[in-house]
């Protein structure tokens, strides 16, 4: 053997090494945040620059209930992960299901809002700059909610089949990080579109 390994192998490893899942998901979140930032910049840049068509103030209503549901789902998913960490798989499934339900309600609400805007107010992505930036930004967020829900559903399926155990808590936590990110983005989108933009 060689000198380097012989002496050092008995010392404790004093470095703080983060978990791979958390680091990986954080990197993904950084990249996604950059994409969202660009869409937010486009939204803000084009505020008030429409040549024609409805303005935000005229057609937007605050989606309060939607927002409460989505933000609550961050709470429920945190409870779910905590349950799993202590091994309570039944509570985990319950809280996880609640998260999915709240997220699904948010999507439905967004769909209803879009239907109202398109059919009642005549605002589409083609109408004007507001339509372009609104649908693309909110739509980008909604697509991330959909992807998140699909992932959550897969986990739910495994949980109902009894395959999810306490040792999977870290992985559930990583997925929860993604879900929290989706909620954070909604806070930004809500502020920019429904508060600043009106």
């Amino acid at each position: 053997m060689n000198a380097a390994t012989a002496t050092a192998s008995l010392e404790p490893d004093s470095r703080w090494i983060p978990s791979k899942g958390v680091v990986g998901m954080t990197c993904l979140i950084i990249a996604e945040s950059a994409i969202f930032t660009i869409f937010v910049v486009a939204y803000l840049y084009y505020l008030g620059k429409d040549l024609s068509g409805p303005a935000p103030r005229q057609v937007l209503e605050l989606p309060i209930l939607n927002t409460i549901c989505l933000l609550s789902s961050s709470v429920t998913i945190t409870f779910a992960v905590r349950s799993l960490r202590v091994g309570d798989t039944k509570r985990f499934s319950a809280w996880w299901l609640a998260t999915i339900a709240l997220g699904a309600y948010f999507l439905l609400g967004t769909g209803r809002e879009w239907a109202r805007l398109i059919y009642d107010k005549g605002l589409t992505i083609q109408t004007n700059l507001f339509g372009t930036t609104f649908y693309s930004l909110v739509g980008l967020h909604a697509s991330h909610v959909i992807v998140g829900l699909l992932a959550l559903l897969v986990v739910l399926a495994f949980a109902l089949a009894g395959s999810v155990k306490q040792e999977h808590a870290e992985r559930a936590h990583v997925l929860a990080l993604y879900w929290h990110f989706v909620d954070m983005v909604w806070i930004v989108v809500f502020t920019v579109v429904y508060i600043v933009g009106r």
Binding site: N2, S9, S136
Partner: protein
């Protein structure tokens, strides 16, 4: 284990019957490459993919032939415009990015004492996604205008300014191939960046704190961090462009109040950090190769890390120096002048540090070192022409001229490609077990050096004489003919050099001298295992005490950890 005192055999030569290549059929071998999640195989595939497109990217040769004299009709304007668009797009996205990710893939786990990347399946996914994106882009040549109107190769320039890319001005689907090919490749890049960052932060061997890891690991960490920030804006802008072209949105639709300048901002917020993403790996190679062939530790390790971090941060604030001619306010222009010149400072510091490494050393001029010395010389010039371009009023003359082309080819070819060649000559023995021929290597080097300078030195002058870029011909009477002719002649030398290089690689794969574990007498962990390394990299995961673990083993009375 062998009994030499130089390097303990951390890699091991444990013979496993399944590793014998002669026992596998050709199908088995191809199959093992296609389904692999091994970082070494994926790294080599990335590099081979990049080198394949390097040869293809020599569509620039056709460009040079067309421009060799005034008013030539070798190539139609439509074909020419596709050629320069595809040349730029290919070189950045299908050569540069894959090769740097390939080297990162191959080397990072070996250098930090890990067995693979953090997410091996994601690694494979990223590679195949990138490969598909490139093939989709090149499919556009075949999906040509006559073929059921499917489209043709994109002809909007590699930065695809709006509204030239709008449906109205870019008919057919050529621009859509550009968008989709690169977007898909971009997802692959982000996936690989996530993977490499996680590997470096979570999988270093015992004793290797962040301050003890090789500079190559640091620079790849920083480069991948920049990928996360920089590639996403391009993805976002491309989504917007797709929506414009297919859903009728108005992001860049100037008729509806949209802004052409907004595309430029979004593109260059990607584009400028992108060129640093491309060049930082060349810094990484230089920081590993120059010390070994100078027989000295790198001069100023902490400063090198700090300077690279500074470059990464400042490079996020310089993008609009690509837009000096767009009509920003004088305050706006001045801000970007200052930030651009500032980013030159840490860049210059690195050059001084490499010089400091060579100073007082015992320089060996093997092929990797020849390419590295040329790299320093050419990167110096590239940086200085960059400072010239940073002077905004002078940029009002030089932007989009052949001077600009000369500048960025000096960085991308003179610095990056030269260091890629250096890295190949340096690590080829590790990956294959055979050394590349030094004789052919020197022919390759000198021919490429001469050709490079003939071509790209003259471009500075045609730019100063008012020749714009992206023109398929020019009239006689502007004084550009001789310069263009000389410029084209240089291409012959470069093509010959690349041909010799390919011959060298093919020949040495079979007949090259056996390399052994550590042919260069180097100091980082990849040289402690066999050449090529076994699939598991190290039989026993090493523990390190300093930045140069093999120096410590070779110099037990004078190890590095006493001085760091």
């Amino acid at each position: 284990m062998n009994g030499t005192a130089r390097t303990g055999d951390l890699g091991g030569t444990i013979p496993l019957a399944s590793l014998s290549a002669t026992e596998k059929t050709i199908f088995d071998q191809i199959h093992s490459w296609v389904v692999t999640v091994d970082h070494k195989k994926l790294g080599l595939m990335y590099i081979m993919y990049g080198l394949l497109f390097l040869v293809v990217g020599l569509e620039a040769t056709l460009i040079r032939i067309q421009l060799a004299a005034p008013n030539l009709h070798v190539i139609s304007p439509q074909a020419f415009n596709q050629l320069f668009t595809m040349h730029g797009t290919t070189m950045v996205f299908l050569v540069g990015m894959p090769i740097i990710f390939g080297f990162a893939n191959y080397l990072v786990p070996l250098m930090i004492g890990a067995r693979d990347l953090a997410f091996p399946r994601l690694n494979a996914f990223g590679f195949w996604l990138s490969a598909f994106g490139g093939l989709l882009l090149y499919f556009s040549f075949i999906g040509g205008e006559g073929l059921a109107g499917a489209g043709s190769a994109p002809d909007v320039g590699w930065f695809a300014y709006a509204p030239l890319t709008a449906r109205a001005f870019s008919k057919g689907h050529s621009t859509d191939y550009w968008i989709l090919g690169i977007m898909i490749g971009g997802f692959g890049s982000i996936a690989t960046a996530v993977n490499i960052i996680t590997t470096i932060l979570c999988m270093r061997c015992r004793g290797m704190t962040l301050t003890k890891m090789p500079l190559l690991a640091w620079m790849n960490l920083i480069m991948c961090g920049m990928v996360l920030f920089a590639v996403s804006p391009l993805t976002a802008a491309q989504i917007m462009l797709l929506l414009d072209r297919f859903a009728g949105s108005h992001f860049f639709d100037t008729q509806a109040g949209g802004s052409a300048v907004l595309w430029m901002h979004f593109f260059w917020i990607f584009g400028h950090p992108e060129v640093y993403i491309l060049i930082i790996p060349s810094f990484a190679f230089a920081s590993e190769i120059i010390p070994v062939f100078s027989r000295k530790a790198i001069f100023g390790y902490p400063v090198m890390v700090g300077a690279t971090l500074a470059i990464a941060f400042v490079s996020l604030s310089v993008w609009a120096h690509h837009m000096f001619t767009v009509g920003m306010t004088s305050v706006g222009n001045t801000f970007f002048v200052v930030s651009t010149m500032m980013v030159g400072i840490p860049t210059g510091i690195k050059i001084f540090n490499w010089l400091g490494t060579m100073w007082g050393g015992k320089l060996r001029f093997d092929t990797p070192m020849l390419f590295s010395i040329a790299f320093i010389f050419q990167f110096l010039i590239a940086g200085l022409t960059g400072i010239m371009l940073a002077c905004a009023p002078w940029d009002w003359q030089l932007n989009d001229s052949y001077f600009l082309i000369a500048h960025f080819h000096y960085t991308l070819v003179g610095a990056l490609v030269f260091m890629i060649f250096a890295a190949i000559y340096y690590w080829f023995p590790k990956a294959t077990g055979h050394l590349l021929s030094e004789r052919l290597g020197k022919w390759h080097f000198w021919l490429f050096l001469i050709g490079f300078h003939i071509t790209f030195d003259t471009m500075h002058f045609s730019g100063l004489l008012g020749m714009p870029r992206r023109i398929y011909t020019y009239e006689a009477g502007r004084g550009w003919g001789l310069l263009n002719l000389i410029c084209t002649v240089g291409v012959l030398f470069q093509v010959a050099a690349v041909f010799i290089f390919i011959m060298n690689v093919l020949r040495s794969l079979r007949k090259g001298k056996t390399a052994g574990n550590d042919p260069w007498d180097a100091w980082t962990l990849e040289w402690a295992t066999s050449s090529p390394p076994p699939e598991y990299n190290f039989a026993e995961v090493p523990t390190v005490k300093s930045r140069r673990p093999l120096w410590d083993i070779k110099h037990p009375t004078d190890p590095d950890w006493k001085y760091e």
